[in-house]
């Protein structure tokens, strides 16, 4: 197994740009293509944004670890934070078949995380940290 990790002891929204660039670099380095990279950048950016804005609160920086792992043919992104416990997979999906005038503003971040990955797995680590796994199956089939 090969993995690349980006860690912050105190990340803020100003770091999102670097996080997206890192994800793109890491996915391609591990053998994923630009399409897979694009999906994961979109999905993980939403999750990190939520951690920073909803989890820690906009004015409060906090630890963020983004790991990208090649495991067999699968590509996994592991996002770890120390914000209050929050399981995004418990957020009900929006109805995207309704016209815009009948929809609430926002509420699309978690939906994008789900749509752009094959599996989204949340778990609370033994140390009480939020750990979110974004899985792309067979993303490295040709490696």
């Amino acid at each position: 197994m090969k993995s690349l990790t980006l860690s912050y002891t105190s990340a803020t929204v100003r770091d999102l740009n670097d996080i997206r660039e890192f994800l793109d670099y890491a996915v391609v380095t591990l053998g994923g293509d630009e399409d897979i990279a694009g999906d994961l950048v979109l999905a993980v950016n939403e999750a990190v944004t939520n951690t920073l804005l909803h989890g820690y609160g906009e004015a409060t920086p906090g630890p963020v670890v983004v790991g990208v792992e090649a495991d067999g043919g699968d590509l996994r992104v592991r996002l770890i934070d120390d914000a209050p416990r929050f399981d995004p997979t418990s957020v009900p999906p929006p109805d995207i078949n309704r016209p815009l005038e009948e929809r609430p503003l926002g509420g699309l971040g978690v939906h994008m995380m789900r749509q752009l990955t094959d599996e989204l797995v949340y778990h609370l680590t033994d140390e009480g940290r939020n750990e979110l796994l974004f899985i792309k199956r067979g993303a490295l089939a040709n490696v």
């Binding site: 999906d39 939403e46 995207i96 815009l100 929809r103 926002g106 752009l116």
Partner: protein, 130 residues
């Protein structure tokens, strides 16, 4: 992200909002759109052809602009309801110029491509207002 807006007045006056760079925050774009709206703009093209990346915050801005333009057209309300029921409704006051592949992913994931007209170029989008 950089946002420019200007008007095309050869036909029906159309305001063009052009985003350059990633659309990852809603405030700047919403702010520019509100300014244009306050200045009388009622038909807008949002040019995303120079936008490699759109986050959910960017989608929120698009949604907000859509609602803003929608609010100024009460006549439209009834025909809209009919077209929505038929599944043929597309916003008559907001048209988009297609973003890159990744930007498009964000729009389609949210189902926005079904309710907003997407054009391949800015002239095409402007001309679509007739």
């Amino acid at each position: 992200m950089e946002i420019t807006f200007w008007q095309e007045t050869s036909g029906k006056p159309v305001t063009i909002l052009q985003v350059r760079g990633d659309l990852t925050a809603n405030e700047p774009l919403e702010g520019e759109a509100r300014k244009a709206f306050a200045g009388g703009a009622r038909d807008m093209v949002l040019d995303l052809s120079h936008t490699p990346y759109i986050s959910s915050a960017g989608l929120r801005a698009i949604h907000t602009i859509y609602m803003l333009l929608r609010s100024a057209d009460p006549v439209d309300e009834s025909s809209a309801v009919r077209d929505i029921a038929r599944g043929t409704y597309k916003s008559p006051h907001l048209k988009l110029v297609k973003p890159s592949k990744n930007g498009l992913k964000a729009l389609t994931t949210a189902g926005y491509d079904i309710f907003l007209e997407l054009h391949n170029s800015l002239p095409e989008a402007v001309a679509s207002f007739g």
